[in-house]
């Protein structure tokens, strides 16, 4: 009886999730449909919900006419190294904020949080000037280096690490472990859940990031995918079908990262034994 009831609950959960997913993905079906339309079919009335004629022209244009592979390479390079840099730097800082007491800790933390709230539109020009003084304009490093400071990642990790029991650390200290070993052997493995979350989120943000690469990279050979796609929005007309095809293609790498991380994420919880 009890078992049967549970199954019913599970079924209704799946049904609800199915409905939510359907609403969520509705616009994507539209996106996919648009990407397979010829330019003529884009604006036809009545609307072709499913294109009468499937056209691969926009995909052809993205992959063959535009510098797709080059941009793909640039995007991967920038996103991978930015994500790595962020995770290393943020987990180190979060460890300190979660587990150590020092003077003005809260003040510093609030300063960090506050800095997250100033829009890039205002700090953009000063940062640009700083990067120029550092001779980092038009280099991949110039795009990657600013990601060393990521409050959002520090904040998320700190919230999580606070719940890791101090007993582990104290026991390790008694065993003669160094702080670095504690960080590397205890804190990091125990934070694998938020870290995988952050890998996905940061990879995605850096992947879709547009403002920085646009301003910093002047050499067309260093252009990233979003910049390549933005050029489809020209002064007077937008090639919606090509733009949608490009956006869909550019989502694939993040989707792969996410699917991989999702599995790892669940396994991390089951094996890692939080607490």
């Amino acid at each position: 009886m009890n078992k049967h009831k549970l199954k019913l609950a599970d079924k209704s959960i799946l049904l609800i999730l199915f409905l939510i997913t359907l609403i969520s993905l509705g616009p994507f079906l539209w996106m996919i449909s648009t990407s397979f339309k010829s330019s003529g079919a884009l604006m036809s009335i009545p609307i072709e919900w499913i294109p009468n004629e499937i056209s691969f022209k926009s995909y052809e244009k993205i992959i063959i006419e535009l510098p797709f592979l080059r941009s793909l390479f640039n995007s991967i390079l920038i996103s991978v190294f930015s994500t790595l840099l962020t995770i290393i730097s943020a987990s180190m800082a979060a460890f300190i904020f979660a587990k150590f007491e020092f003077k003005h800790k809260n003040v510093l933390f609030i300063l960090f949080l506050a800095s997250m709230m100033v829009p890039l539109q205002v700090t953009g020009i000063p940062i640009f000037i700083i990067l120029m003084k550092l001779k980092l304009i038009n280099s991949y490093v110039g795009v990657i280096v600013p990601t060393v400071f990521n409050v959002f990642a520090i904040f998320l990790l700190r919230q999580y690490m606070r719940n890791i029991s101090n007993e582990f650390i104290e026991a390790a200290l008694i065993d003669g472990a160094s702080y670095f070993q504690i960080y590397y052997r205890i804190i990091i493995p125990m934070s694998i859940v938020p870290i995988t979350t952050l890998i996905v989120i940061n990879f995605m943000n850096y992947w879709n990031d547009y403002f920085w690469p646009l301003i910093i990279l002047t050499d067309p050979k260093k252009m990233t995918l979003p910049i390549m796609l933005s050029k489809l929005n020209s002064q007077y007309a937008t090639e919606y079908n090509t733009l949608m095809a490009g956006s869909l293609i550019s989502m694939i790498p993040i989707l792969i990262v996410y699917m991989f991380a999702q599995k790892y994420f669940i396994r991390g919880i089951q094996e890692g034994g939080v607490k």
Partner: protein, 413 residues
């Protein structure tokens, strides 16, 4: 972990090393950087050909071209100018030219050393301040009436002619509108840029002659705005925002559901490629007199440029040389400013539209917006009141009275 970090650091350093451009031996050569937006979206190959032609004439000047989308161009440019790393040569449209010149971001050009004799004079003066040349125009454009011949035939209406007025236009638009619920007669947007032109057609203006006070709510202006609004709300020959359904006006025309559109000659390329019906053009009809837009893009030289002379030579070549102009005309990339007979013939030869003469006829009726440093702000402010007139929240008279009060209080000198 330490190993990994070291590995990462060394990689980062490696990339930093790679990023500085290798120093090729270019002792006698000069390099100029060139940033533009107008070649984006189809004309990048034409621009490359122009640069190659330039290099035939000036083999010692290397040009590094960078092309950005229009939407981001001015943000990017402002950031680079502010950061002190402006490109040597960059492109400005007439709307932004004034601000860059007034703030000292662009250099005065010494035109005595370069050949600008072939340039259409009106475009040269558009980029002068107090008689000094600050920019060299590359292309210019005006606005014409583009019409869908098939819809005219279906509605049994005569094609537009050069002596049409708004009345003729409206009569034709109503007949086309009657063809179907989703078919519209004409599209003229209602915004500041359209407003200053339309009021000029009715004998009005945004400011008095010496540009000291605003005259937004003059009776001519109110009458013109009422006519603009009536086309949406009364006869509905022009679709409202809801009927547009988020579609662009060009898209509507290309879909074959719009009889006439008043838009720039830069639409020719797109319409030739994407319209599966016959279309042609006519001089834009006026209310009392003819008036149409004048747009132009120019190349300017940064006031920080260390290679000013080379930069000026490049700008002058793209602007005034017959070679560049011919490449432009053959690529159907707006109207080149160096209008030699050869260029004009090449331009006329590309059809549709068949009636290309209308483009040249329109040159007799060009009007320009008030030359104000803060024109963008005035435009946005006026836009709000125009919107209220369209939505019916205010009458044309009320909207312009309020706009006049608001704009005068904020921007009076």
């Amino acid at each position: 972990m330490i190993k990994k970090i070291i590995l990462l650091l060394s990689f980062v350093l490696l990339m930093a090393g790679c990023s500085s451009t290798p120093q090729v031996d270019v002792k006698e050569k000069e390099t100029i950087t060139f940033l533009n937006y107008s070649s984006n979206g189809g004309q990048e190959a034409t621009l490359t050909a122009m640069v190659e032609a330039f290099n035939v004439a000036y083999p010692d000047i290397i040009v590094e071209v960078e092309t950005l989308g229009y939407a981001d161009y001015f943000t990017q440019l402002a950031t680079r100018v502010a950061g002190g790393s402006a490109p040597d040569v960059f492109e400005l449209n007439i709307e932004n030219f004034r601000a860059y010149a007034d703030k000292g971001a662009i250099a005065k050009l010494d035109t005595s050393s370069v050949d600008i004799s072939q340039i259409y004079p009106k475009t040269l003066t558009a980029f002068q301040i107090a008689g000094e040349q600050y920019g060299l125009p590359t292309k210019f454009s005006n606005v014409v009436l583009i019409y869908n011949k098939d819809l005219f035939d279906q509605a049994g209406v005569e094609y537009p002619t050069a002596d049409w007025t708004w009345e003729d236009e409206l009569a034709a638009a109503e007949k086309i509108r009657a063809l179907g619920d989703d078919i519209y007669g004409i599209f003229r947007p209602i915004q500041t840029w359209e407003f200053y032109k339309t009021v000029a057609q009715n004998g009005g203006s945004m400011m008095n002659a010496d540009q000291t006070t605003f005259t937004l709510n003059s009776s001519e202006n109110v009458e013109a705005l009422s006519m603009m609004v009536a086309r949406i709300n009364d006869s509905n020959v022009t679709p409202n925002a809801e009927q547009m359904g988020g579609m662009g006006d060009w898209d509507l025309f290309k879909s074959g559901r719009l009889g006439m559109i008043v838009t720039g000659i830069w639409a020719f390329g797109d319409f030739s490629a994407n319209c599966d019906f016959d279309w042609d053009i006519a001089v834009e009809p006026g209310i009392k007199v003819n008036a149409t837009h004048f747009f132009s893009d120019a190349l300017v030289v940064s006031s920080d440029s260390k290679v000013h002379d080379a930069a000026t030579k490049f700008a002058a070549f793209i602007s005034g040389s017959g070679e560049a102009a011919l490449l432009r005309a053959n690529a159907n990339w707006d109207l080149p400013v160096a209008l030699t007979d050869e260029v004009e013939a090449a331009y006329m030869a590309i059809t549709p539209p068949a009636n290309k003469q209308a483009v040249f006829d329109s040159l007799n009726h060009l009007v320009m917006p008030p030359s104000l440093e803060y024109f963008n702000m005035v435009a946005d402010e006026l836009q709000i009141y125009l919107g209220k007139a369209v939505s019916g929240e205010l009458t044309a008279q009320e909207a312009l009275d309020q706009a006049q009060a608001s704009v005068s209080s904020k921007f009076s000198k």
